[in-house]
């Protein structure tokens, strides 16, 4: 017996040995197949959303046939857009706050814009419980689409919307530490509820200045005026480690080859250092600074701060631009130094630079979709803050923060001083035509308290006059509202 059992063993081992390589190959292949099926499962569960939501994916219309478009909500649970299904099954997209969120949320007839456009697929997807979906499919009923919950804060949007009033212009509010877009207002605007009916008259109005469909936050290109001095100052600090020793005697004007640069309202600032040139926004001093700068380095600084670059935002945008090279003459250089001439920026871009300064130099990618959830509120996908990169060093950010604080405490932004929050920023009054008395009013800055953190606000009021008198009070209303929430 013993003998047979050992013999048996030997036989099996020889047989096993004979096919050992076959077994190994079989396992190798089966392992590869399992890996592949694992990847397929992983893709379906975690990666497919990125592809489904891609604007290149043209399968959207097939979804609308079987899904009721989901809601768009503010971070504080206000419904910003919803689809109302009539008794006859007809669907109407309804925007409870009308034009208040026109540009941020967008519209969904005669094409799409805003969140309605780039959130389209999330809205047309249904992550309702699958048995319910099966049931709906059988009963030939549409599934309820997912809701898109935004980072937009209703209260801030409301105050910004009201503060801008009848003016044309734009306001954007960011949270520098995350990149969340808290508010986005662009005027003139439209009522997305009635845009279908008014479509023909809207598009027949070809005057681009007036076009209500343009989201001025990301698509409006404006001369930055004195807000650009943030960049000029940064370049001066980089080139002159002893920048604190800078001093200039302002006489109200400085003559160039062909032009003369005046301080705003023909003010005469007298003797001043860099900090006070910045705080008082002294044009003649900055023209003088501009002449001392290395043109090549200045240009590369601007490029590093997203000029001539695609902005990392979901909204359609325009690239900011400037013209400066070694051939630029002194007129062009001094004009650039004070944010005039051929320099153009979008308010969103200015807000991103400001947010980066407030966030120790690191720019967080602005985003407006916080998460998507199914109609019962179960989170489907969360969008986490992501870093764009370090625009400037933390040390430089600290220096600029100091200078921008001085603007509030001693300079053109003094309306923001003495509040419950610590504000900092830069005003601007950008001339946009040959008529020197007309200017766009700018303010870009941030404010913070211990408990509520920091928010950055950028305001532009078209033809609003001086930044300090028109734009700063608007920013103040936003800050007041946010920090009293």
């Amino acid at each position: 017996m013993k003998k047979t059992s050992t013999e048996q063993k030997l036989r099996t081992s020889t047989r096993g040995g004979k096919n050992r390589e076959f077994v190994i190959i079989t396992y190798l292949f089966v392992g590869a197949f399992i890996l592949m099926m694992g990847y397929f499962t992983y893709f379906q569960m975690f990666r497919s959303e990125d592809f489904i939501n891609s604007p290149y994916n043209t399968r959207q219309n097939t979804f609308a046939e079987h899904v009721i478009r989901g809601e768009i909500r503010s971070a504080d649970e206000k419904v910003l857009a919803q689809t109302i299904v009539g008794e006859d099954g007809s669907e109407t997209r309804y925007y409870p706050y009308g034009s208040m969120f026109a540009h941020a949320v967008g519209f969904d007839s005669n094409g799409k814009s805003g969140i309605e456009s780039f959130g389209n697929f999330s809205l047309l997807r249904s992550h309702a419980f699958f048995l319910e979906q099966v049931l709906n499919g059988i009963r030939n009923q549409k599934n309820p689409g997912d809701n898109v919950v935004t980072t937009l804060n209703y209260s801030i949007q409301e105050i910004a919307y009201q503060a801008l009033g009848e003016n044309r212009g734009a306001i954007v509010v960011l949270e520098p530490s995350t990149g969340k877009i808290l508010a986005m207002v662009s005027k003139p605007d439209f009522d997305p509820n009635s845009i279908g009916a008014e479509w023909d008259s809207i598009i027949s109005n070809t005057d681009s200045e007036n076009s209500i469909l343009v989201n001025r936050v990301t698509q409006g290109l404006y001369p930055p005026g004195s807000t650009f001095k943030i960049l000029t100052t940064l370049e001066y600090i980089r080139e002159h480690p002893n920048y604190q020793e800078y001093s200039y005697e302002c006489t109200g004007s400085i003559s160039m080859e062909n032009t003369e640069i005046h301080c705003y309202n023909n003010a005469v600032h007298g003797s001043e250092d860099l900090a006070h040139s910045f705080a008082k926004s002294c044009n003649t001093s900055y023209a003088n600074i501009g002449l001392e700068l290395d043109k090549g380095k200045f240009a590369s600084l601007c490029n590093g701060l997203l000029f001539h670059k695609d902005l990392p935002v979901s909204y359609p945008f325009k690239q900011s631009s400037f013209v400066l090279d070694q051939k630029s003459n002194t007129d062009q250089v001094t004009q650039m130094a004070i944010g005039q001439g051929e320099t153009l920026v979008t308010p969103m871009h200015m807000a991103m630079i400001t947010a980066a300064i407030a966030n120790q130099g690191t720019l967080m990618k602005p985003y407006v979709v916080d998460h998507t959830e199914n109609y019962q509120g179960v989170t489907v996908k969360e969008y986490k803050p992501s870093t764009y990169g370090s625009l400037i060093s933390a040390e430089e950010a600290g220096k600029l923060q100091e200078l921008m604080s001085l603007v509030v405490s001693e300079g053109t932004g003094s309306k923001l001083s003495g509040q419950s929050y610590q504000a900092a920023g830069k005003t601007g009054s950008a001339e946009f035509s040959s008529n020197k008395s007309e200017s766009h009013a700018w303010f870009t800055g941030y404010a913070s308290t211990e408990e509520k953190g920091t928010i950055a606000v950028t305001v532009i009021v078209e033809n609003g006059g001086a930044g300090s008198t028109t734009a700063v009070p608007i920013a103040k209303q936003v800050f007041d509202t946010y920090f009293s929430l």
Binding site: K3, T4, T6, E7, L10, T14, G17, N19, R20, E21, F22, V23, I25, T26, F29, V30, A32, F33, L35, M36, M37, Y39, F40, T41, F43, Q44, R47, S48, E49, D50, F51, I52, S54, Y56, N57, T58, R59, T62, F63, F130, V134, G137, I138, N140
Partner: protein, 504 residues
């Protein structure tokens, strides 16, 4: 109503195919007896017909074209004829392989009909002709013993045909893959891969000594190089892997296998830097959306389809699989996944895996080393092609433009896969016959057992010698096998015997 049926059918088709797939693996259990197995295979056939009917029902309802009903009935007749032929003429073949072959073709017909009736019709005609031709193969393969002796003829045929294609072939999609004769476009690499397996098997059957390995490697390398020059990277890769696997199993030397794979990896790096079209594929694989406008278009569209389809699919005729370039050939899996669902797609992979397992199973069960290698080589080719095709579609690996056997559109691919399946069936036929004959011997078998017991001591010694020199051992084993079976068996053993004598 149509929508309701389409929606319901999504789930019924998934359930039917899942049941089918389950039976593939349930039937593989060792504890199962023949009758139970036969029952399972019968139920598989039922599931297939139900799925087929369900799918064409949806297609007819949504397209509302009578010609589809006719086409459907033609297919039913075709499948019934295939099943019938096999059960009449080849009782002993693997029913599972027959069923899988029909099921995969069935899915292919459904998807192709949905994509383009004309192409589906053409595919069907090719399938009928190919099936008629390949039905003879199981019989022939078990009779034609000379196939192991055509060693250099295989090499000559393979290299000549590949070379001709490389030089003259039409340029299609940046790769010289095919030529046209009398209006029929043939893609020779599909057939040469079979010849290639026979070449390698017969070389290693002769001997696995170093010089023989060198000779075989040179010829195999020549195949791969010509394919790479013709830019047919997918086929080149398949040839390479098939050769490495056969080399490893034949020589039992792991370092050949490992070394070969390292060389392959190095060659891939060189190819990446050398060839633009390789780089393009890798770039498209890394981030398809970033290069959507050009190189990433195909894979992006494939992923849109798979992702949008989700686990349950859009339903037949409800998606947009036609948005994927080359969907009928290389990206049929994505179309299946989009419309029939991710679960269905996983089942499809599992059915392919079950085919692969049946290939390797027969490789392990064959006694004859030549046929062991043939089954292994064909199994590797089949399995690796599945990996390349589906892996490329789902962005698991860079896309190499390889068809999914039996499902994709393409005459050469279909015919060559049917040939492979038929050869495997021929091997099952041979195995069953030798088993039958062995058990029919009865007394002889007993004697053999006693003889074995007597030599158990000697076996231990042999075991040692095997560890030292596996090649010699195998020759001895062969000799022993030949002698043991004696003259009671047909010429098969005679040939085998003479072969062994040749070595002496």
């Amino acid at each position: 109503m149509v929508h309701l049926i389409t929606e319901l059918s999504k789930y019924t088709m998934i359930i039917l195919f899942a049941l089918y797939t389950y039976q593939c693996f349930a039937a593989l259990k060792r504890s199962i007896d023949k009758e139970e197995q036969a029952e399972k295979y019968k139920s598989q056939v039922v599931y297939m017909y139900l799925f087929h009917m369900n799918a064409y029902g949806v297609l007819v309802l949504s397209v509302r074209d009578i010609k589809l009903i006719k086409f459907y009935l033609m297919q039913v007749v075709f499948f019934a004829a295939v099943q019938l032929c096999y059960s009449i003429f080849y009782k002993r073949v693997s029913r599972l392989v027959v069923n899988n072959m029909c099921m995969l073709m069935c899915i292919g017909f459904v998807m192709l009909t949905r994509l383009s009736y004309e192409h589906a019709m053409k595919q069907f005609q090719i399938a009928v002709i190919s099936m008629a031709l390949t039905l003879l193969i199981p019989f022939l393969i078990s009779r034609w013993k000379f196939v192991r002796g055509l060693t250099w003829l295989y090499a000559l045929a393979g290299i000549t045909m590949l070379g001709v294609v490389a030089v003259l072939g039409a340029v299609s999609h940046g790769a010289k893959l095919s030529f046209s004769v009398a209006g029929i476009t043939v893609q020779p690499s599909e057939f040469i891969k079979i010849i290639f397996v026979f070449f390698v098997a017969s070389m290693f059957y002769e001997s696995t000594e170093f010089m023989q390995v060198v000779k075989t490697t040179i010829i195999a390398g020549l195949h791969v190089v010509i394919l790479v020059i013709s830019k047919d990277l997918g086929a080149g890769l398949i040839f390479f892997i098939a050769y490495m696997v056969m080399l490893y199993v034949a020589t039992r030397k792991l370092y050949y296998f490992a070394g070969g794979l390292v060389c392959g990896a190095l060659a891939s790096v060189v190819a990446y830097h050398l060839f633009h079209h390789v780089r393009v594929r890798v770039v498209a694989w890394q981030d398809p959306l970033a290069v959507f406008e050009n190189a990433g278009n195909q894979i992006s569209n494939s992923l849109f389809a798979i992702g949008t389809g989700g686990w349950f699919g859009m339903g037949l005729n409800q998606g947009m699989p036609y948005k994927i370039p080359e969907v009928k050939q290389d990206f049929i899996f994505s179309a299946v996944s989009e419309e029939l669902g991710g679960i269905f797609a996983i089942c499809l992979i599992l059915v392919c895996v079950s085919c692969f397992l049946m290939f390797l199973n027969i490789a392990m069960q064959m006694k004859d080393f030549f046929y062991k290698l043939v089954a292994l080589g064909l199994g590797t080719i089949y399995g690796f092609q599945i990996l390349l095709s589906i892996g490329g579609d789902i962005k698991f690996i860079p896309s190499t433009g390889v068809t999914l056997p039996l499902v994709s559109y393409g005459g050469s691919s279909l015919l060559s896969t049917l040939i492979i399946f038929s050869i495997i069936q021929g091997l099952y036929l041979m195995r069953e016959r030798t088993q039958e004959e062995a058990s029919g011997l009865g007394k002889n078998g007993k004697k053999r057992k006693i003889a074995k017991e007597e030599t158990s001591n000697g076996k231990r010694i042999r075991q040692k010698s095997f560890e030292k020199d596996p090649d010699n051992f195998r020759n001895e084993e062969r000799e022993k096998g030949a002698k043991q079976k004696g003259g009671s068996l047909s010429n098969e053993e005679n040939i085998h015997g003479t072969k062994v004598e040749d070595f002496d």
